[in-house]
């Protein structure tokens, strides 16, 4: 499963590089910088998500089996997932504000970069496979 997430991160990384190159030719260097910044926000957010997923996998390996352990595991995953959602929301909103207001990057290109990265998340469930439970 981790390889699927690595593929997702790789695709987002490819979008950063390809989009920055295309926008530097299509528009200007500041546009390329804005595009790269926008897609790097998504890339960092996805990397954080994958890190949390890995933490969950490690937690499962460490836990002993049994009914109570399973219930504790489920509760722990849920808590981690909610925490991750809030942290990612704060990260994305904060970095977008930094890009728009503080760095004053070109808004259209930054938004384009962000959307480019985020669209990968929308299409990811098409190719992501879940391994069978032994």
């Amino acid at each position: 499963m981790l390889s699927e997430y690595r593929r997702l991160l790789g695709l987002q990384g490819a979008i950063v590089v390809a989009g920055a190159i295309i926008s530097s030719f299509a528009a200007s260097f500041p546009a390329a910088m804005a595009f790269a910044f926008g897609s790097c926000i998504v890339l960092a957010s996805s990397a954080f998500f994958v890190w949390r997923f890995q933490q969950g996998a490690r937690h499962t390996q460490n836990e002993s089996s049994g009914r109570d352990a399973n219930a504790a595991n489920a509760e722990w995953y849920l808590r981690q997932a909610y925490r991750t959602a809030i942290e990612r929301f704060i990260w994305v909103a904060g970095m977008l504000v930094v890009g728009f207001k503080l760095l004053e990057l070109k808004p259209f290109w930054m938004l384009a970069g962000f959307l480019g990265g985020q669209v990968i998340w929308l299409v990811a469930p098409i190719w992501m496979r879940v391994e069978k439970v032994k």
């Binding site: 499963m1 957010s45 996805s46 998500f49 997923f53 969950g56 499962t60 009914r67 399973n70 219930a71 595991n73 489920a74 995953y77 849920l78 997932a81 909610y82 991750t84 959602a85 990612r88 929301f89 994305v92 909103a93 977008l96 504000v97 728009f100 207001k101 808004p107 259209f108 938004l111 962000f114 959307l115 985020q118 998340w121 929308l122 990811a124 469930p125 992501m128 879940v130 391994e131 069978k132 439970v133």
Partner: protein, 78 residues
Amino acid sequence: MELATSLLYIAAALMLGFGALGASVGIGILGGRFLEGAARQPELIPMLRTQFFIVMGLVDAVPMIAVAFGLFVMFAKT
């Protein structure tokens, strides 16, 4: 001009608010279903966890786009 700026702020607030609402409802339902599944078949928790994370990424993606558009309207258009 003043009215246009005010309307832009209202539009941004609606986008951010409804985005957050959608994400919270979606993740809430997802979390509830995950707990239901985990309670019914505890041996499937690793698979449910993986599915849960994938769908959470998907559920989170659209409101994030709404947030980006909202902030774009708020900061870039005013």
